[in-house]
């Protein structure tokens, strides 16, 4: 990624560990390594898909990148500003550049605020516009996300799931951000509504030149929207590659298993497809296995995997993976 365009977001060795307290004195007995050494760049205008199963740390990673948490260690640079260690109070001035669309449109909108008030709130906080200007801006945003301006005085409960997600998107757009983290924005929506929201996100990206981190567990939707895809497992990125390469020829055994587990809506393919069924469950992130995190379920596990943690590195141009199978192919 050194010869390509300059990244807008650059994350290096990001760690987010949550302490576990137990016993009568609530002593610290361990930690959940939700995100454990994650590095990636996101180039301006692209969509980086972040996929993985529940509990792999993808949402925590997205929230940590926006510094919704005080991270354990690592560096995050957004738009040439290092924010990894910035105190929360100083982050406020940075917030307009980086916004978030949340998973559950029901829970992320205040039921006692009208749609207008919800979309206007960031404008109240961060701009010096007059009331009339703000109202006009809210109207423009509602147009942009395909909501009828007439509904500005209504409350969230009067809208369907897909429309509520549009309200959430309008709020995220209010301050002309450059970077938006979309945390499972379509997971709570019906299939026929998902496509509407994804198309809207793509239109807005083109119109406003947005950069997305698109977090999802839906591999087929990520294939549609992402430019590049990062696969997470147990707090680490195991593979990162351009979209087509990843789906055509996955390198990491976990990516292979994950892709083969996706049910295809075509009965002839479904029977022909060679499935890799992983045994067992994901280990606990408070007590990850020695060596490679995936060694307990990996179909091609070797001796070295249970002892040495594989390095995360570029094994082909633009393709990164952390797996001992590719030890000799490193350039």
């Amino acid at each position: 990624m050194f010869d390509g365009p300059k990244p807008l977001v650059s994350v290096k060795d990001l760690k987010m560990h949550f302490p576990i307290y137990a016993g009568f004195f609530r002593r610290r007995v361990g930690e959940v390594k939700a995100v454990d050494g994650v590095s990636f760049d996101i180039v301006e205008g692209e969509t980086l898909g972040l996929v993985g199963e529940s509990g792999c740390g993808k949402s925590t990673c997205g929230r940590a990148v926006l510094r919704l948490y005080d991270i354990t260690s690592g560096s995050i640079s957004i738009d040439d500003r290092e924010i990894g260690a910035t105190p929360q109070s100083d982050l406020r001035t940075m917030r307009p550049t980086m916004q978030m669309v949340f998973q559950d449109p029901q829970a992320s909108l205040n039921p006692r605020m009208t749609v207008e008030a919800i979309i206007k709130e960031p404008l109240d906080e961060h701009t010096a516009l007059t009331e009339a200007e703000k109202r006009e801006k809210v109207g423009e945003l509602m147009d942009a996300v395909g909501l009828n301006r007439k509904f500005a005085k209504r409350y969230p409960h009067a809208f369907s799931g897909g429309q509520r997600q549009r309200i959430g998107i309008a709020r995220a757009l209010a301050l002309n951000p450059k970077f938006i983290v979309c945390d499972e924005p379509i997971a709570a929506l019906d299939v026929s509504i998902q496509a509407q929201v994804v198309n809207l996100l793509e239109d807005l990206q083109e119109k406003f030149g947005l950069t997305y981190l698109f977090i999802s567990h839906d591999l087929s939707m990520v294939r549609h929207i992402a430019t590049r895809v990062a696969v997470m497992y147990l707090g680490k990125v195991v593979e990162l590659a351009p979209r087509e390469a990843l789906y055509r020829d996955p390198l990491h055994p976990y990516t292979k298993a994950l892709l083969s587990a996706v049910p295809e809506p075509d009965p002839s393919l479904a029977t022909a497809k060679e499935r890799i069924i992983l045994q067992g469950d994901v280990p606990s992130p408070s007590n990850p296995p020695n060596g490679c995190n995936f060694c307990t379920r990996c179909p091609s596990v070797m001796d070295i995997c249970t002892k040495v943690e594989p390095d995360y590195r570029e094994v082909q141009p633009g393709r990164y993976t952390a797996c001992h199978l590719y030890n000799d192919t490193a350039g």
């Binding site: 199963e53 496509a195 049910p263 809506p265 992983l278």
Partner: protein, 334 residues
């Protein structure tokens, strides 16, 4: 799956309404289907399309009020389940018809051991004593692929992962050797790799035990891999019904066609833009007197707003509730 075999479950014109403050919601409108011995019938539809309510209606699982099963016949084992008394219905539920719910986190009782919960139907329905039930419970856990079954019987639900809990639910549903198993979105709450495990287990169990299964889901991918026949529901009605390959290769109803186009795939062509279905599903405050899909349909014409289309047989065991004939590209003349 012999075509002529007598169905194990035959549902005719099932109608269910919910009384709400705003009026009556017509959740299930004249749903008819039959389940043949040993087959897996997939039921697909979006949330609110009436797929779960249909299944709960026929087992008398809906609280009344607000629900009211207003009409229809459900023939199972030579009697009409809608007419039998509650005791008789209870002897069918959990014994001859097993049920798996969507959320394995909330459908197990957290204060009883897993063994206790598997033994409950065995003792209630099959009259086994404690020791016999324990032996059978261990067999069942082994059947659904839970390692170290004897010890795991003594564990509580919170000691199991999501996928393991769903296996326990399957074990409970299978406890009394049911003729019919109804699975309501059994893999929706699970991750894809765990979902793949459960689907594989389900295929194995079917070939071993040979029961008939109704599998409710909104995921067409899951249906493609597991079902023999598929029923597509929209707004409380069956809009299309066909053998699985026929449905995917030759969808007749505009809703099914749109649905198949709107979902992206991981292999195959990647569309530059997703096809969308405009608009929202209807609010079902009145009994349907017109096609429920007409406002979102790309081939709707005047007749669609005047009458509700019946299910037209299009051959190959395939029917679709649409006035427009997708094969000829013109409206039907009947």
């Amino acid at each position: 799956m012999p075509d002529g075999a007598l169905p194990v479950l035959d549902v005719r014109d099932l109608k269910t309404v919910f009384k709400t403050r705003g009026g009556e919601v017509h959740a299930v409108n004249d749903v008819s289907f039959e389940l043949r011995p040993g087959e897996l019938l997939g039921v697909v539809g979006e949330s609110g399309s009436g797929k779960s309510v249909t299944m709960m209606s026929l087992l008398g699982l809906l609280p009344s009020p607000p629900a009211n099963v207003r009409g229809g016949q459900v023939t199972f084992d030579g009697r009409d389940l809608l007419k039998v008394n509650p005791d008789e219905l209870r002897s069918v539920r959990g014994a001859k018809i097993g049920f798996i719910f969507q959320d394995p986190m909330t459908s197990l009782n957290p204060v009883f051991t897993v063994g206790n919960q598997i033994m409950e139907p065995l003792r209630k329905h099959m009259g086994l004593n404690k020791r016999e039930a324990a032996v059978r419970a261990q067999e069942l856990l082994e059947l659904v692929g839970i390692p170290d079954a004897a010890r795991r019987l003594l564990d509580y639900p919170h000691q199991f992962s999501g996928g393991m809990r769903q296996r326990v639910m399957i074990a409970i549903a299978l406890a009394c050797d049911p003729q019919v198993l109804i699975a309501d979105e059994p893999t929706t709450a699970l991750d894809v790799t765990i979902q793949a495990q459960i689907l594989e287990l389900m295929k194995e169990l079917r070939s071993k035990l040979g029961m008939a299964v109704i599998w409710i889901t909104h995921d067409l991918g899951v249906i493609a891999g597991i079902a023999d026949r598929v029923m597509v529901m929209y707004a409380g009605q069956v809009v299309e019904h066909a053998p699985v390959e026929e449905l995917f290769q030759n969808p007749q109803h505009p809703y099914t066609r749109a649905l198949l186009k709107t979902i992206p795939t991981i292999s195959g062509e990647r569309a530059a833009r997703l096809t969308i279905i405009e608009g929202q599903p209807p609010i079902m405050m009145a009994p349907p007197n017109a096609c429920a899909f007409r406002d979102r349909c790309d081939v709707a014409f005047e007749r669609c707003a005047q009458e509700n289309p019946p299910r037209y047989d299009v051959g190959h065991g395939h029917d679709a509730a649409c006035f427009f004939d997708a094969r000829t590209g013109v409206p039907r003349d009947v």
